[in-house]
Symmetry: none
Subunit: 233 residues, 2 copies
DNA sequence: TTGTCCATGTTAGCAACGATAACATGCTAT
DNA sequence: ATAGCATGTTATCGTTGCTAACATGGACAA
């Protein structure tokens, strides 16, 4: 294997299993079977090594996302992108913290890539006539809120994390940058199924009835989400 | 001056003027006119010292806020709290990063205080009948979004920060957890779960979606009926 | 073939860091 | 007065990021 690849792999594994989210160049060299100065010859800097690790780890995620995203419903893609962002943060906490914590002097390319991916989705949302804000502004808004949610989840111990915080903020922020669903009442027409389902879903999330078992509630909310996001007649 | 106070002051000043957001115990000792091990005798740990610096710096902010907040309009207080949060982050970037970056093993008391302050405001909002979500959930939502905005601003170089990002996200998130303004329309008060369930049930009966099997549709309507007839809080 | 240059890797070590052991000092309470 | 304890100092340890100096080996021109 290439020396550079070996170092990258060792650094990645050490970083992902590190309790405090930090690694030492000596540890990386030892695990990669390479002397320490080789790292500095290949990467120049510890920060650059970490940036390379971040870019490498995020590149895989990006590749998987880039292939799956284009759907007929760009708003649904937007929601999916939000959920994927949160999931990536929870799956790779140390990498994610490096991305969105300004400890690195030069922000890694991954954050630019992530924002560009989001901007592309928002562009398609705008072309569908569903975006109420300029795509650039919308990208900043969604990015800030999404990273805020992710970091908030990472900062709490894994036990008492609210598993629905992400979707809660998502279902507040995304409608906040979208135009109302097509078919919405222009004057005082009755609400559509989607609107009623959205309203009921929001009410149930904020005031969950105890009469439902978790499985029942999950199925109900799943149906409500389905009804709220379906293409309206 | 007390040695502890001198160390705290020196550490605070060094931290606020530090380019990378880090300080060294030796530097603190030298600036405070104290030998290095004194820090360890008084604070035990570098992390504890940093936590003390954070708590000290945030305590002043909290004191100023606690005296000014109680107004007749809790929603306005909520908006003010958001703006104050963002301003504090921009005024004390390194302290703020220490607060909401999990580098410290034990999260400083300041984050708990900040959340408690927010929760108090939200409690008053709820008492005014303007809160659509449980105060605890609402606190998590607002906190996540606000810290996300603040960290996003801090991560961009000071030049190309969107000065309106904070109010933009604020004006999306806060209405998302509030009930509509009371003066908007007296007849259209916020719908309860029962109302929303009734509406959705009626709409589904008149426009039955094909994506549900008969059994699924029967269960869904049964649940909606249950939600529509339950005694509402 | 031979000699030169450059990329790559090794050894050794520096300066700074967080942290601690061991000792000195001075105040307080019995 | 003296024992006990809080406080402060000196010296040092182990680790860290990083670099200088030297070694090696292959590519390429003469």
């Amino acid at each position: 294997m290439d020396n550079r690849s070996a170092i990258l792999a060792a650094a990645t594994e050490l970083l992902e299993t590190s309790p405090n989210g930090d690694i030492s160049t000596r540890g990386v060299g030892e695990k990669a079977g390479v002397q320490q100065p080789v790292i500095y010859r290949l990467f120049g800097d510890k920060d650059s090594l970490l940036a390379a690790v971040v870019d490498h780890g995020f590149a895989e995620y990006l590749e998987a996302k880039r292939a799956a995203v284009p759907t007929a419903d760009p708003v649904a893609d937007l929601r999916r992108g939000w959920d994927g962002h949160t999931r990536f943060a929870l799956d790779h906490p140390n990498v994610y913290r490096l991305m969105y914590t300004p400890r690195l002097t030069t922000p890694p390319q991954a954050v630019r890539d992530a924002r560009e991916l989001l901007r592309g989705v928002l562009e398609r949302v705008a072309q569908a006539g569903r975006l109420a804000v300029q795509p650039d502004r919308a990208a900043d808004i969604v990015m800030a809120a999404n990273t805020g949610v992710a970091l908030a989840l990472l900062n709490r111990p894994e036990a008492d994390r609210d598993p629905e915080l992400s979707v809660r903020v998502r279902d507040i922020v995304l409608p906040g940058i979208l135009t109302p669903e097509p078919g919405a009442d222009l004057t005082t027409t009755p609400p559509t199924v989607a609107q009623a389902a959205t309203t009921l879903g929001a009410l149930l999330r904020s005031d969950r009835p105890e009469s439902f078992s978790p499985a029942e509630f999950a199925l109900l909310t799943e149906w409500l989400t389905h009804l709220a996001t379906r293409t309206n007649p």
